[in-house]
């Protein structure tokens, strides 16, 4: 009953005509961003945060707008996966495996609508899961002291490095880069500058928005310059779009199972949406067996990763909202949004700002419905947008990003840092070093250090305090296992390669 009352509160916040309008605009923009090749959800939300902040929207309005963009981009990502065989972001890779063969067979419309329905089911079930699980976890989180929080942050970095990258050392270096950057600025207890090199511009620290936009958007520009915009032309034409009821009925059990798998993968801190879509696809593939024909363009192969991906995106919000530890790159960007709005995620959020949490959850449900309605009739418009050539798209994205940052801070120094982060992002991605740990490091570095310092102050400098409670020991074991286990499982868990023409 309490849950229903909370939901009613959420809808009363999120269901005004103004916020509904923002949700529709956000879903539309988000789908476009997700559909454009090379611009995933993280990119899209990152570019829009400075702009929405500069607009001076209040917390609820900004949250509704950005979550609508986030979910819209998750929806839109499948359009370029299915039609062009180019995944808009990493989790969408699994959708190309069966979506593109289906489109080549002339069933592009069916694949798009089916994946839209699967996305809806996944996201809807995950939001329900979030509603049920988050308050419980928030109560558990009250038991966390500084030692437990320190172990939890460590767990997030370890699992993120373990699952998402091909080389543990590289992802650890990446996390260290982020954490090292987070240390720059005036120390909160002593009031003295650290690691600034005497540069006055750095006394405020490095704004994580500058880092996110640089690493994602500006680095993308360099990649397009390297490839000279090749590979962004239309692959498959789309003719009539109807609703394939037969396929949808057929794949209902698949969608339900995939949503469950995806949600669990999303809740694990640091694992995120890529793992969700991967596990959902592999589970369905092994259930269907050899006869299932996965990889040749079967409807189940389209429905499973899409449901899993969107369920994981919803599941990733659970640790983000209750513990302040994001589960994936995009939730890291959403965490950045909350921090920009001066909302600190964590167990106290549910107690002190119920209107924000439940307003966010209600806006997720609203965005989901809006997207489902928008997607079937408007998919042709989104497909048209795919044909925007790279030579106008990427300069445009770059200019929007720089102007957004400039409107926010008005400082040339931040723009120069933006270019610097773009160059850093290019080299890191070239060397197969994941960039998401850098973002997480900059976002969480301050909190992680605070936890460590409080633990050391409480225990008078005794390191064994960090392992003093069962929860902390459990988290340390999980962190070490999450970091080490993938080294041995790498042979077993080989990712399927994208289909080539």
């Amino acid at each position: 009953m309490e849950t229903l009352a909370n939901l009613a509160l959420g809808f009363s916040v999120a269901l005004s005509p103004y916020t509904l309008m923002l949700a529709v605009i956000g879903c539309f923009i988000g789908t476009i961003i997700g559909a454009l090749p090379g611009l995933g959800p993280s990119n899209g939300v990152a570019i829009l945060i400075p702009i929405s902040f500069a607009l001076g929207l209040d917390a609820t309005a900004a949250l509704v707008l950005m979550t609508a963009v986030y979910y819209g981009a998750m929806y839109g990502g499948r359009i370029s996966s299915i039609l062009l065989n180019i995944p808009g972001d990493e989790p969408a890779l699994m959708t190309t495996l069966d979506g593109y063969p289906m489109a080549k067979r002339g069933e592009a419309g069916n694949a798009l609508v089916l994946s839209g329905a699967a996305s809806f089911v996944g996201a809807f079930l995950a939001t329900i899961g979030l509603i049920l699980l988050a308050p419980v976890l928030a109560r558990v989180a009250f038991l966390f002291g500084p030692a437990e929080y320190f172990a939890l942050y460590l767990l997030a970095f370890c699992t993120l490095g373990g699952m998402a990258s091909n080389n543990q050392a590289k992802s650890a270096i990446s996390a260290c880069i982020g954490l090292g950057i987070a240390m720059i600025g005036v120390d909160s207890t002593s009031g003295l500058p650290r690691m600034t090199g005497g540069n006055l511009h750095l006394y405020d620290g490095v704004d994580f928005l500058v880092a996110i936009v640089g690493l994602f958007a500006i680095a993308e520009l360099f990649f397009f310059i390297e490839s000279h915009g090749k590979g962004s032309s239309i692959g498959v034409v789309l003719d009539k779009v109807t609703i394939p009821w037969k396929y949808i009925r057929q794949t209902v059990p698949t969608m339900l199972r995939a949503s469950g798998v995806g949600f669990v993968a999303g809740v694990l801190p640091g694992a995120g949406a890529s793992l969700g879509s991967f596990l959902a696809y592999m589970t369905e593939k092994s259930i269907a067996g050899e006869k299932g024909g996965f990889g040749t363009g079967v409807p189940k192969g389209v429905a499973a990763p899409e449901a899993g991906n969107n369920a994981a995106a919803g599941g990733a919000l659970v640790p983000m909202l209750t513990l302040g530890v994001p589960g994936s790159g995009t939730t890291a960007v959403l965490l950045a949004l909350l921090m920009t709005l001066n909302i600190t995620p964590g167990p106290t959020l549910f107690r002190d700002n119920p209107d924000v949490v439940w307003g966010l959850i209600a806006s997720l449900l609203i965005a989901n419905v809006v997207l489902l309605i928008m997607n079937v009739p408007m998919v042709k418009i989104f497909v048209k947008i795919l044909s925007v050539p790279a030579w106008i798209l990427l300069p445009g994205v770059t200019m929007v990003s720089t102007t957004g940052i400039f409107a926010l801070t008005g400082s040339y120094f931040d723009l120069l840092m933006l270019v610097g982060f773009g160059v850093l992002g290019y080299f890191l991605r070239k060397l197969d070093v994941p960039t998401v740990p850098v973002i997480l490091g900059i976002l969480l570095g301050g909190n992680m250090e605070d936890a460590l310092r409080r633990a050391m102050t409480l225990s008078d400098g005794d390191p064994s305090y960090l392992f003093s409670s069962p929860i902390a020991i459990g988290l340390w074991i999980a962190a070490i296992a999450g970091f080490v286990a993938p080294m041995f499982l790498r042979g077993l868990l080989k990712k399927p390669q994208a289909v080539s023409d």
Partner: protein
């Protein structure tokens, strides 16, 4: 092989420098003697160990771009850096048009397309920012004195700028 070794060496040197800088962090009565230094030193230590792993166990090299593409990338970086410092003295439209045109040319070398992209993007984005998003601090143009222009450009020159 070589790429990862060079990357590992750079991160190792940075990590050691970071630890050295961490030992020099100023402290006072409120923060205690070692707490502000502890976490930065831990980060540096972890990064140094991982760099050593990378030097001794490197991955295969990625496909690096050809010399010409390096040129294109360098042009893009320089253009973006100059764009960053000229926004303040020159306003939005002129720097954006020039920068967008040059970036467009780096992606697809077609002069007519590039000029169109530059002019279209700068006017279009200005209209969106000014009239739709109401971001009044985006100024259309400013006419600077040569001294101010030179001041802005010197930011990019090491040891001369401020």
């Amino acid at each position: 092989m070589a790429s990862d070794r060079i990357f590992g060496l750079i991160t190792l040197i940075t990590a050691v420098a970071y630890i050295a800088a961490a030992t020099q962090i100023q402290t006072n009565f409120f923060s205690g003697e070692y707490l502000p230094k502890l976490f930065p030193m831990l980060i540096g230590a972890v990064a140094a160990i991982c760099s050593l792993v990378l030097i001794f166990k490197p991955d295969p090299d990625p496909d690096w771009p050809m010399a010409r593409t390096w040129g294109n990338l360098l042009v893009a970086i320089v253009v973006l850096a100059i764009y960053s410092v000229l926004m303040t003295p020159l306003g939005f439209i002129l720097p954006t048009a020039v920068a967008a045109a040059i970036l467009s040319y780096q992606i697809s070398p077609n002069a007519k397309q590039a000029v169109l992209a530059g002019i279209g993007l700068s006017l279009g984005l200005f209209a969106v920012f000014k009239f739709v998003l109401m971001l009044g601090n985006v100024v259309a143009y400013r006419i600077p004195t040569p001294a101010k222009l030179w001041d802005a450009l010197t930011i990019l020159i090491p040891f001369v700028g401020h």
